[in-house]
Amino acid sequence: MSKDLSVTVAGVRFPNPVIAASGTYGFGQDYTDLYPLNKLGGISCKGTTLEPRNGNPAPRIAETPAGMLNSVGLQNPGIDMFITGYLPQLKKDGNVIIANIAGATLDDYKQAVERLDSTDVDMIELNISCPNVKQGGASWGVTCDGAAAVTKTVRAVTKKPLMVKLTPNVTNIVDIAKAVEAEGADCLSLINTLLGMRIDIRTRRPILKNNVGGFSGPAVFPVALRMVWQVANAVDIDVVGMGGITTAADAIEMMMAGAKAIQMGTAIFTDPYSPLKVIDGLEKYMEENDLNSLEEIVGTVQPW
């Protein structure tokens, strides 16, 4: 007997709560030799900007205990290529298609999202972790004002369900979450990567050519879980949790902390089948616990 694993996030129905995280699954074409894209509840596409970008110099990848660093730096083909070159195929192959949008200026965000508004993309995820050029390169998402400004600008030009992706590199993520909610975000996703570094002790050089990079993978899971729990308790909109999820048990923890759906990134590099294993594990959990919907467990952690 197969269970209905669907969840609804900001009014959008996902056939199952497992979404490929932005930047780890490209535009959905790279793993189709292994299994079809429609096995996943959805895909958040690689962070896309108004104009094409070449990203940072290599090396862009470093390993860490139970995790990794990346300094890819938003290499992407630009919003027009996304819309004409990738979106039609994504819509054919996949379930919920989420565009992940980044920008250096408010106008970049505005124009990119305007172009998406008339497409059949299902959802827009705003990556506010990228540098704000006007503010000396600090990320939009590290201040309430910056995060609110991006959300407000984008909200004004789209009716698409809007998910704002929070950076964990802040003193109080709850304040940022509330600021974004107040400007009309339909849901939140978190966490983006934590800023990290590794040094090659033989050369005394950082392994990443960019010196520092985003930290992800199983090592960050407890931090992500804590932040999702804090944010989910503080806002009324839906929350999508990510950061180090590797197993169905991790996904269940994340949902109990308050996430309605989850994203997986780094785990896919270790095992490309891991999202499918999580989906199977969730179904088994539903059967064992006699659940009719996974939403029954969302936010059910009972804190001491």
């Binding site: 490209g26 030799d33 690689k46 290599a58 862009r60 995790g67 199983p218 590099f269 270790t270």
Partner: protein, 259 residues
């Protein structure tokens, strides 16, 4: 270019030089699809990222591939502990291999390998019949020399160089390369090895105006083209591109590579 991700049985394991291991893996589907110059992406238990290792030889009849790798850090150390009979978790075959060409009967090709860049050149040499391929292999010293007999077995006329002269010719692979090019019989050059060696080979190929392909290395996450982690700079038709070593490479035309 289909690839697979599975656990495949290890048929044979041996240490062919100190800290350098050879594995034969039974994976008929992979062997059938594989081309010389492609690589496999191996999961090392307990590590987040897989390790990219070149395909060294392909045996389609037996349904096996061979890989040869050096223990560099923790991940390759872990992999080297896998015994015959155990399984290797691989995504394979990945990337684009070397272009194998029909060449005139009076011409030859040259394969050049440096250090741990030697293994993929063996499978490439094996694509050409006897007397059609010259191999030039460079190593740090006598203790690091690997696969020389294997190159001879596949019919390659083989020259070995070491940096310190403890075995074969002393010096860089470019000396035997130039000697061979001077004979005017070379149709194509293939190379894999450390960046300084690749630069020298690329320059030499340009001077002699011989088509050349090189295999690049970069740190990888996905290995399949999804994460854009393995960037390399490529110049085509006067325009610069940032491409992926794993999917657009690892083999590139020498004249397009910006090192």
């Amino acid at each position: 270019m289909a690839f697979f991700c599975d656990e495949f049985p290890i048929v044979e394991r041996s240490e062919i030089a100190s800290g350098i291991f050879s594995y034969v893996i039974h994976c008929p589907s992979v062997a059938l699809a594989a081309k010389a110059g492609q690589f496999v992406h191996i999961r090392a238990e307990g590590y987040t990222l897989r390790r990219p290792i070149s395909i060294c030889e392909i045996n389609r009849e037996k349904g096996t591939i061979r890989i040869v790798f050096e223990v560099r850090g923790n991940g390759t150390d872990k992999l080297s502990q896998l015994e015959a009979g155990k399984k290797m978790d691989m995504i394979a075959p990945l990337g684009n291999g070397f272009t194998i060409k029909e060449i005139p009967s009076d011409k030859t090709v040259i394969v050049i390998g440096g250090g741990i860049g030697v293994p993929p050149m063996l499978g490439t040499a094996a694509e050409y019949t006897d007397n059609k391929v010259k191999a030039v292999l460079g190593f740090r010293n006598k203790d690091r020399v690997i696969l020389e007999e294997d190159f001879k077995r596949v019919g390659a006329e083989t020259a070995v160089c070491t940096d310190d002269g403890s075995y074969g010719e002393k010096g860089l692979v470019t000396f035997p390369l130039i000697e061979e090019l001077e004979r005017g019989k070379t149709a194509m050059i293939y190379a894999c090895g450390p960046t300084p060696m690749l630069k020298a080979v690329i320059n030499t190929a340009r001077v002699y105006n011989i088509p050349c392909e090189v295999s690049l290395e970069q740190r990888m996450a996905c290995g399949v083209g999804a994460c854009v982690g393995c960037a390399c700079n490529i110049r085509k038709g006067g325009r610069d591109f940032v491409l992926r070593v794993c999917k657009d490479g690892p083999v590139f035309k020498a004249e397009e590579v910006v090192l």
